[in-house]
Structure formats: structure tokens, C-alpha cells
Amino acid sequence: MEKLKSIYASAYSATLTIASVVALTIGAELSAPFKNWLAGFTGHHWVTKSWISIIIFVLFFFVFRIAGKSVNELRTKRALLVLQTISILGFIAILGFYIYETFVV
């Protein structure tokens, strides 16, 4: 069950990381001051986003690892399904946003 707990924690932490990257990416494109604020930390907005993604993943991995005491097969399967779904939706959201920004706006 220790292996399942780590998979469960990693899947939900990865889900949160992807959701955060999508929000940061679209938010920064819609707000120049926010993008500049992000760039202010490291000199480049993308480098800051990269560090944020690492911090969120590591932090929430340990949160879910500690909180997920009653992890079982079903909960792990659900966590993986959520991660699969958010990965595809995140891809569509970011690519779709930039296509929209380029050709429609």
C-alpha cells in the first residue's frame, strides 16, 4: 500500500501542478503586469513558472502523501483518471488559447 500512496499523491499533485500551469499561463497572457511580476522573480516569466511548477508538485506530493492515509485501489485509480483527463484538457486549453489569441483576437 505504500507504493499506492505514493502513486496517489503524485497523481493528485501532478493534477494540481498542471491546473496551476494552465492558470498561470493564461493569466500571464491576459495581464501584462502579472507577467512582469512573474518575470521579476527570476528575470524570465517562464523560469518563474518552471520553479512554481516544481514547488507546487513537491509541496502537494508530501501533503497528499501524509493526508492520504486511507488510500486504496479505487482512490488511486480515480486519481490517475483525473490526471489523464487534466493532462488532455490542459493541452487543449493552452494550445487553444494561443490559437485563439493569434487568429481571433
Binding site: 501542478t17 500551469v21 523560469v47 516544481i54 490517475l80 489523464q84 487568429f103
Partner: protein, 157 residues
């Protein structure tokens, strides 16, 4: 040595090479799971090789992107015949890439399970889908990279 490694063409080559290592390793892992191969050791090696490939391509590509792409390449693309190669392909690639490492780590953790554990936990199909997703993400980055390179080449002519 550092001068050679940080030369622009070498950086691009390393970025691409590590990406190929990552994609091929995850495709190898995908084959192992689909074939229901019994070797946990092989799955773990394939998963870790994939993760290492993605991490290295991230570091090398990130360095190139920040140091050279922004000041040198981006203006050429934007002034060329396909400025959308930057505003769509590059922007999408650099941000969607940030999904890869958390997914790859999850895959490495799944790779530690034996074939019988994957079956009994009922997560073998999820493992297959997630590994297919990481390989497909890598291949989509390859397509975007090709678009960016082609736009730069034709933007400069």
C-alpha cells in the same frame, strides 16, 4: 568544454537528443506494459530513462530558450512569413512542457508495481493511457519544434 556545450547548435542537438531519449524510453515502457511483460526492473529502467531524458531536455532547452531564443530567434520568426510559429507553437510548447515532469514522476512510481499488482489493483489501463499521453506529449513537442525551426530558417532567408 563549457564553451562547446553551450554553443547554439550543440545546445539544440542536446535538447533534441535528450528529448528523443525520453520519448523512446516511454515508448519502450508502453510496449512493456501492453505486452504485460513480467520484468519490473526493465519497466523501472525505461521509466527512469524517460524521466532523465525529459529533465535534461528541459534544462538544456530552457537555457537555450532564455539565453538565445528570445533575443536572437524570436525576432526572426516574428518578422518572417510564419509569425504564428512563435505565438502558437513556441508559446504552447514551452508551457505544456511543464506538465511533463510531474506526469513522468507518476509513471516512474507506477513502474515499480509488478504485473500482478497492476492487474489486481485494476490500474494497468491507467498506466498504459498515462504512458501513451507522455509519449504523445513528447511527439507533439517534436512537431512544434520542427515548426519553430522551419519558421526560423525561412524567416532568415
Amino acid at each position: 568544454m563549457f564553451e562547446i556545450l553551450t554553443a547554439k547548435p550543440v545546445l539544440i542537438g542536446l535538447h533534441l537528443g535528450f528529448a528523443i531519449l525520453g520519448i523512446d524510453s516511454f515508448l519502450w515502457l508502453l510496449g512493456e506494459i501492453v505486452a504485460n511483460a513480467q520484468s519490473v526492473k526493465r519497466r523501472v529502467i525505461a521509466g527512469i530513462a524517460g524521466l532523465i531524458g525529459y529533465v535534461l531536455t528541459w534544462i538544456v532547452g530552457g537555457y537555450y530558450y532564455v539565453k538565445f531564443y528570445g533575443p536572437l530567434v524570436k525576432p526572426v520568426i516574428k518578422a518572417g512569413s510564419a509569425p504564428w510559429a512563435h505565438t502558437i507553437a513556441m508559446e504552447a510548447k514551452e508551457h505544456i512542457f511543464l506538465f511533463s515532469i510531474p506526469i513522468a514522476i507518476t509513471i516512474c512510481l507506477l513502474a515499480r508495481l509488478s504485473a500482478s499488482e497492476l492487474e489486481s489493483f485494476g490500474i494497468r489501463k491507467n498506466f498504459i493511457y498515462l504512458t501513451a499521453i507522455i509519449a504523445a506529449l513528447g511527439l507533439s513537442f517534436g512537431i512544434m519544434g520542427f515548426i519553430i525551426s522551419a519558421a526560423t530558417r525561412w524567416g532568415a532567408i
